[in-house]
């Protein structure tokens, strides 16, 4: 009798405790400093998509090995026609959005059409003439006026991911902006602004990504994204074990985290660079000799030291993580833009910049050369190197004054070419970004004007073949280096830290996108 009672007690205990344990969701807690303004990328103007990336699913994605190769994600396959004017996507039959609505070629076409009318960046889809839905709505043909070779960043990110336009129309853009319906691995459960966002698994999610093992719904139940604006607090939460992953670890915390055996830190160079831009429409920057002297006065190794090794020196205009990167051009830049203060002084002297009053500062035609360098107060790296650059330039006789503003205001000044010297840059996987930086097709910050460069940059965006495209951009880069259209300084790294109990996390080396398809937690 006693045994029976004991067995009954054990059975009841198990009956109540085991389901309780099983009900505990596998929750990944993710921390970041930046909170998005809204989640519908088709309406967004910001650049913070780390969270919304969990909700969206691009048609294709960059391969892990090269930015020149795209692999299927939502689409089962894609192809360019021989002439590059037709881009075809094949979609899986019967696929659905997270809410169960059909996600076929008609839905993708509707999403692209919405993007072109809703987004402030409709040109992202290029000169699209028409879209044809074929094969029982499993194929989408996109016909272009010119081959859209520049579109890989859009196609392989949330920008090109399909959104459920039916729901957008039904609830309106305002509600859809805060809670969009797409087909990514997660669905928004709740968003407490200023605190956290709770995402739960999308049971309808399927993928064709070749580099993930689990092609179905993710293994974890939910992701909680916590927005912690103060870097000190963010790192404290990670070290205390309250966060599983931190995206965008501040560089000042990298060394201490690397010494923690329970934390893994991944360092990935970004697909872009920071450069010294100048207004070439304005003296003395309209003088090539002066720009060459400026370039020769800059010692990037010292800048890297000042930034505690969290950046890599940059000498070209296409970084290693970008499409069409060319190591030979990098080497050419290293040669042409090498640090050589003696050469800088000589160039200045030959060009008529002389120190006539013996104060160590050069003058041109008896007048002092006055240069203002804009530094962004909200960019720790710029704040750190501002005075170092000032000292480097002073060493060759160029005097600059430093003025500090918010980064967003500096972009405003750059766009209006209301500046002398500024540190600015770009992050974009495709070299087409150079068209917007060095020609009047976009905010040509330098006011740079070289017909050959403009021709090459326009040509590069229409050549689909990777090798031919690289050759075009290499030629353009060499011209930009020769003209010293800007002075590339460094490429920043993105740091992502995760607790070692997070297994199976794939961090894309090119885009820094986090794939959690295979993630399990072994806390």
């Amino acid at each position: 009798m006693k045994v029976t009672k004991l067995l009954t007690f054990v059975f009841l205990l198990l009956a109540f405790t085991v389901p309780t344990m099983a009900q505990e969701p596998a929750r990944l807690v993710f921390g970041t400093t930046d909170e998005p303004d809204l989640l519908d990328i088709q309406q967004a103007t910001g650049t913070n998509f780390t969270t919304s990336d969990f909700l969206t699913q691009p048609l294709v994605f960059y391969s892990l090995e090269s930015a020149d190769v795209l692999v299927p994600d939502l689409a089962t396959s894609y192809s360019f026609s021989e002439d590059g004017l037709k881009l075809t996507f094949n979609l899986p039959a019967g696929y659905v959005f997270s809410n169960g609505d059909p996600l076929d070629a008609d839905a993708v076409r509707a999403s692209i059409e919405r993007y072109r009318t809703t987004s402030p960046y409709p040109e992202d889809w290029g000169d699209l003439l028409e879209m044809n839905v074929l094969n029982d709505s499993t194929t989408l043909e996109m016909i272009y006026e010119a081959p859209p070779a520049f579109m890989s960043p859009v196609l392989s990110s949330g920008f090109g991911a399909p959104f459920n336009t039916g729901v957008a129309e039904e609830v309106g853009n305002e509600a859809f902006g805060a809670n969009p319906v797409a087909s990514g691995p997660f669905v928004l459960e709740s968003w407490t602004r200023g605190t956290e966002m709770r995402l739960v698994r999308n049971e309808n999610y399927r993928t064709n990504l070749p580099f993930v093992n689990n092609k179905g719904p993710v293994l974890i139940d939910e992701i909680v994204t916590r927005f912690i604006p103060d870097p000190f607090t963010l790192i404290a939460e990670l070290e205390a074990g309250n966060l599983d992953i931190v995206y965008g670890v501040p560089s000042s915390a990298v060394a201490s985290l690397q010494s923690n055996p329970e934390i893994e830190v991944t360092e990935l160079p970004t697909a872009g660079l920071q450069a010294l831009f100048f207004n070439t429409a304005q003296a003395p920057f309209n003088d090539l000799s002066f720009r060459q002297a400026l370039a020769a006065a800059i010692n990037r190794d010292v800048l890297v030291q000042v930034l505690e090794g969290t950046v890599v020196p940059q000498y070209a205009f296409i970084a290693e993580a970008m499409v069409s990167y060319d190591p030979e051009v990098y080497a050419y830049g290293q040669e042409q833009l090498a640090y050589n203060p003696d050469a800088a002084r000589q160039i200045l002297n030959d060009a008529g910049y002389v120190d006539s009053d013996g104060d160590g500062i050069v003058e041109k035609d008896g007048s002092a050369v006055s240069i203002e360098l804009l530094i962004a107060t909200d960019d720790a790296k710029q704040m750190a190197v501002g005075v170092v650059l000032q000292a480097m330039l002073q060493e060759v006789g160029i005097e600059i004054t430093i003025t500090q503003f918010e980064q967003s205001f500096i972009y405003d000044r750059l766009a209006n070419r209301d500046y002398g010297l500024a540190i600015a840059g770009y992050v974009w996987w495709d070299p087409d970004i150079m068209l917007y930086r060095f020609t009047d097709a976009g905010s040509n910050w330098s006011g740079y004007d070289n017909a050959d460069v403009t021709r090459l940059l326009n040509e590069g965006r229409t050549v689909v073949d990777p090798a031919a495209r690289r050759a075009i951009y290499s030629e353009a880069q060499r011209l930009l280096i020769d003209d010293v259209a800007a002075i590339p300084l460094w490429t920043e790294s993105t740091y992502i830290a995760n607790r070692t109990w997070v297994d199976g996390l794939i961090i894309h080396p090119i885009t820094t996108h986090m794939f959690v398809n295979d993630v399990t937690l072994s806390r």
Partner: protein, 305 residues
């Protein structure tokens, strides 16, 4: 009294309008084009111009202000430029957190600062008074960011008694409220001590003793009640500051609130949200000022309006 309060409230309306106009002008004159800032480096001149038109930023400043004011009178604070949500929705979502934080700080001030001030005044120049005065000065002098980090290091990271950050539970309010309230505990306790010392020197206190009242009765019935008036006004005027001025504490503890929302909105030049929050803070300043007057009059029958 009611008539007085109503008159004061009506007279404050031009002040509210003036404050919002001033802030509107300051933000308008501050460097940077909101449209360019929103679009960032990707924005081409054409896109910037299109967004300026869409947001009405191409209209004259006074027309923009008049539109906003007209909307407010119709109960509409406008649409957030960056979040594309009604500004009132964004502000309302942050209000409960801010109120909880402000309430925590006020409770801290009332529970600790007033007894400390009274005790110091009653035991004037004693060792305990000198110790408490030094502690009050110390608290008053502490920068809030330093205090916040120290509280976090000790109570959240080392002792693990409280959460490091966030707003997931009521415990998460404790450290931000301490960081926000403790410097005020220093200020109010010093103020309370000074007021009590003044009152304890009044002739009616001697009379109270002469009538045979106990020291406790004199201190806490007669003296405290009369010394409280300026403290109450101070505390009421602190509330609007607590509503919008906790930016640093909220940022360090990743605690949501009106202060952080305003800071982010200023950075992104989100005028409707900034204006909405300022209107809220200005209005609450006027209301709490009036409430302070009202409570003071109830405590001190000599005060008549």
């Amino acid at each position: 009294m009611t008539k007085y309060l109503l008159r004061r409230f009506l007279l404050s309306i031009p002040t509210l309008v003036g404050v919002t106009l001033l802030v509107f002008l300051i933000l308008f004159l501050s460097p940077g084009d909101p449209a360019q800032m929103i679009l960032g480096p990707r924005g081409t001149p054409e896109q910037v111009e299109a967004l300026r038109q869409q947001l009405g930023l191409d209209r004259p400043v006074f027309e923009q202000y008049a539109r906003w004011l007209g909307g407010v009178l119709a109960g509409n604070l406008g649409q957030s430029i960056s979040a594309r949500q009604p500004a009132s929705t964004l502000i309302a979502a942050q209000m409960p957190y801010t109120l909880a934080l402000a309430l925590g700080a006020i409770v801290l001030i009332v529970v600790f600062a007033i007894p400390i001030g009274v005790f110091s005044a009653v035991r004037r120049n004693s060792l305990a008074d000198r110790g408490l005065s030094a502690a009050s000065m110390f608290l008053y002098s502490l920068p809030d960011f330093w205090l916040a980090i120290m509280l976090m290091l000790v109570f959240a990271i080392q002792l693990r008694w409280l959460p490091i950050s966030g707003a997931a539970s009521w415990q998460a309010v404790v450290l931000p409220a301490l960081a926000l309230g403790l410097p005020h505990v220093g200020t109010v306790s010093r103020l309370m001590r000074a007021e009590m010392i003044d009152v304890l020197g009044e002739p009616y206190i001697r009379t109270a003793y002469a009538k045979g009242m106990t020291q406790f009765g004199v201190n806490y019935v007669h003296a405290l009640r009369n010394a409280l008036s300026p403290i109450i006004v101070y505390i009421f005027l602190t509330i609007p500051w607590l509503l919008g001025g906790a930016v640093i504490v909220e940022t360090i503890f990743a605690y949501p609130g009106i202060g952080r929302l305003m800071f982010q909105s200023i950075l992104s030049r989100d005028l409707p949200v900034v204006q909405g929050i300022l209107l809220l803070i200005s209005t609450s300043t006027v209301i709490f000022n009036l409430l302070g007057d009202f409570v003071t009059a109830q405590l001190d029958p000599r005060i008549r309006y």
